[in-house]
């Protein structure tokens, strides 16, 4: 018999609606689990037991009144870079360590409207800049499968909390792989939706043209429920696409026979990790068994993705993070000499090393005399990468590839080698560059028991196809059912 905290949203929803359990009980179970495991993991920046129990009680009233939806009463953890009115949104940065959001992000409003229960905010790389959740001002999050390992980043807390049963589902944000990588490293299911599907209003910007909010869950079913909640037009976000999204749950359990998956040559030629190669080969067999055919294809500009990304994202970040200046909110240095020095010292004290590195890189790439060689060049490469995907999807329904070139690595292993750290995202970054939906699903484990995920990439707004593929895969496999030994 599973504990409450081990159950999925769909299972809990059934128990809640049939009044076998109350949301307050579920929430207490989660809070107790957090209490028991948080010291080891450090998934959260802020845990909000009072708010959670209050919301749970309200959810129970809605359930009694018969006005509950499919997610009413389900506990969720929210990445620390999304605004929840009245809660701190620190982005795991000293510069926002005392910032209390005066408004709700659009996704948070949707979560409230659905009657979900907010457990707190999750740890992350500072301003979502990182692949390991080590750059957090609040200290690193540990991988629930192996406490010496990183959980992936930047949404490491969101993935770790779901893997460890601290939250049923969570919200992450993904700019270059920040949902998919930690989902892969923690053996949970996560999706970065198409750019423009989920409102960014209230998501603290890292790189605005690449950032996208998405859910992390135990399986494709919960993910589909969350996509139903999150996707939709928001007039507060000019980049939000006005369109009707399908009922994603209607794609669960649908056969995938006859579909074609693309295998990009360039993704596989990068693979030299035997565990990842084996997991990919195993996954291929599962899909073949489900009647899927494969086609090899080419994404010729894949190799330039990281270089272009590390120009575009820091350029946008250098501008997005300019507002943290100690004038209106956030940290302000105590000792300074005049206005400019106040800015410089406030920001030097408030930002960590990786954030400063990216601000400098982006400032450089946009500065007079370098714009054409860097920003403009990268923006053109982005066009080529996008065109590569467009032609790839002429021959396949979705692309199957790894999430990362290796299983999780050790805490501290790459922290002082920016380029090695950046290369972790080689398979995820191109998806953001093209604005495509990408999903990470548990694919198995390395010889040492570390999670390895698979990535599925679909054309714009074809999230439903990813749900369908993942649901079919998970019906045949049990990787997603395994829980970390905590």
């Amino acid at each position: 018999m599973l504990e409450l905290y081990e159950k999925t949203a769909i299972e809990l929803g059934e128990l809640l609606r049939t009044r076998q359990v109350a949301s307050v009980e579920v929430t207490r179970s989660m809070l107790a689990r957090i209490e028991a495991t948080e010291e080891k993991l450090h998934s959260f920046v802020t845990v909000t037991p009072e708010l959670a129990l209050e919301m749970a009680a309200e959810a129970d009233r809605r359930i009694s009144a018969g006005t509950a939806g499919p997610l009413t009463g389900i506990p969720i953890a929210i990445k620390d870079n999304m605004c929840v009115k009245g809660l701190r949104a620190s982005c795991a940065s000293r510069i926002l360590a005392n910032f209390v959001a005066p408004y709700d992000a659009t996704v948070v409003r949707r979560i409230r409207d659905a009657g979900m229960v907010i457990l707190g905010t999750t740890n992350m790389d500072e301003f979502a800049m990182g692949s390991s959740t080590e750059t957090s001002y609040w200290g690193p999050t540990r991988n629930p499968w192996h406490l010496d390992m990183i959980p992936g980043g930047s949404s490491g807390g969101s993935a770790a909390s779901v893997a460890a049963g601290q939250a049923v589902v969570s919200l992450g944000s993904d700019t270059g792989g920040s949902i998919r990588l930690p989902a892969s490293f923690c053996s949970v299911t996560g999706i970065k939706p198409t750019y423009g599907s989920v409102s960014r209003y209230g998501l603290v910007a890292y790189a605005s043209s690449l950032d996208q909010i998405g859910p992390i869950a135990r399986d494709a079913t919960d993910l589909a429920l969350m996509l139903n909640l999150l996707c939709g037009h928001d007039p507060m976000d000019s980049t939000s696409v006005p369109m009707e999204h399908p009922d994603f749950t209607s794609f669960l359990g649908k056969p995938i026979k006859g579909m074609t998956l693309g295998l990009p040559r360039e993704f596989y030629s990068h693979l030299d990790d035997p565990d990842v190669s084996r997991v990919m080969a195993d996954a291929r067999k599962v899909f073949e068994g489900l009647g899927v055919s494969f086609v090899e294809l080419s994404l010729p500009h894949l190799d330039y993705g990281i270089a272009a990304y590390y120009i575009i994202a820091p350029s946008e970040a250098s501008s997005n993070l300019a507002r943290y200046d100690g004038v209106k909110y956030g940290h302000r240095a105590e000792n300074f000499d005049g206005m400019i020095d106040m800015y410089c010292r406030t920001r030097a004290e408030g930002f960590g090393a990786e954030v400063k590195r990216r601000i400098m890189l982006g400032t450089y790439a946009l500065s007079s005399g370098y714009y054409d060689a860097y920003y403009l060049k990268a923006a053109k490469i982005r066009t080529l990468i996008t065109e590569d995907f467009k032609s790839a999807f002429q021959t396949c329904d979705a692309i199957l590839c790894p999430v990362a070139p290796t299983p999780p690595f050790k805490i501290g292993e790459k922290i002082d080698d920016p380029i090695q750290m950046y290369l972790t995202d080689v398979f995820t970054i191109p998806v953001n560059m093209a604005g495509l939906p990408g999903m990470s699903i548990p694919g198995g484990f390395s010889s040492t028991g570390l999670p390895v995920g698979l990535q599925l990439i679909a054309p714009h707004f074809a999230e439903s196809r990813l749900v369908q593929l993942a649901s079919a895969f998970q019906a045949e496999t049990d990787h997603h059912l395994k829980r970390p030994p905590l």
């Binding site: 960014r200 910007a205 605005s208 946008e316 250098s318 300019a322 400019i340």
Partner: protein, 480 residues
Amino acid sequence: MEYEAVIGLEVHAQLLTDSKAFCSCTTRFGAEPNSNTCPICQGMPGTLPVLNRKALEYTVRMALACNCTINEISRFARKNYYYPDLPKNYQISQYELPVAEHGWVEIETAEGVRRIGLTRIHMEEDAGKLIHDEDRPVSYVDLNRTGVPLIEIVSEPEIRTPEEAAEYLRALRAILVYLDVCDGNMQEGSFRCDANVSVRPVGQKSLGVKTEVKNMNSFRNVQRALQYEIDRQTEALRNGEPIVQETRLFDPTTGTTASMRSKEQAHDYRYFPDPDLLPLRVDPELVERIGRDLPELPSEKKRRFVEQFGIPPYDAAVLTASRELAAYFERTLELFPKPKAVSNWIMTELMRQLKGEEAGLASCAVKPEQLADLLKLIDAGTISGKIAKAVFEEMCSTGGDPAEIINRKGLVQISDSEALTELVRKVLDDNRGEVEKYLAGKDKLFGFFVGQVMKASKGKANPQLVNDLLVQELRARSRF
């Protein structure tokens, strides 16, 4: 060697929308500091901009009135610089692809009408306000103005003199005000101007090194600042000193400009497309509709006034300075069709009452109907022009009807020649010495007699009749 100046102006005009450019806060002026802000215009983490449709429509209106080409697709860009009144530390503006380009406006110069080319008109957001403490080394930030929509109108470097610059600004302001897209208030900063100035030897094709002059908050100060800067640069060139490309602040108390030597000079704005906004498309149908609905513009109206009413160009320029004033003139003219008389009265008496502010017209107690009535009374000889001025003042303060005021105060003009002949004779009898001198050839004394008669009549005598009678009576006395 002779030198000539080359001046280009950058004008910022606040648009008269109700809400801000990218959020729904009010644009109302004068509220308590930071009472008109929201997470978006405060640049709170996570907030995003959504464009105000009215701001675009007003921009297009101005652009069409200035003969610009509207770019169907344009792009918002971020202009990055740190300043405490700019909460995001970047300004949403337009850079490579502005909404409008290649326009012109007409100005009057000594040599006649000239066209000044416009390089571009683009949309952007205003910054907040800084108040500097008099005693302590601190400044205060008020973000109420932050995010108010602005257009920046950039002229070609085609202006040659400070007078032309002022003319150009007047023309732009008149158009903005006519279109109801900006209130044109320079003191409150809803109409602001920066200048790029360089000087070169007459005949030289290439441009000299330019300076940017800021902080000129009136037409007069624009002229003073430009004249100072032109003289300064000319002097420097004559002495073989180089001109430094820099920003200079005008000081209205000394009438001079001085270099801004702070670190903020190191401007490198790092423009790039704003990823929070998609490309801006201006629907050609919208452009057509706005073009169709454009009102008659000041220069067109001026031309028509001269042609249709035969008034001097100067009068026409004054009367068309605002749409309301021009309408006032035309309405009065419908009721009293003597253009020069109406024009004179509006330009002198009415403008004096309004203290030169056309904006006061709406609240002025004297409506065109009453002014026309007054002018009719003068024309009919019921009152003299001088009395009329007093009546007009009374009308302005009480809003009364001219005929009623004249009756009540007993101001009806004396046009009874018998009564006046008596007065004239009395004046001449009382001033025999002067009459003799006059008859001996001192013609100038005629005015003296007129004055004495008017005085004796308490100003109510019909001046024309007094003239006639005096001529008649003096001639009679010369026969003796």
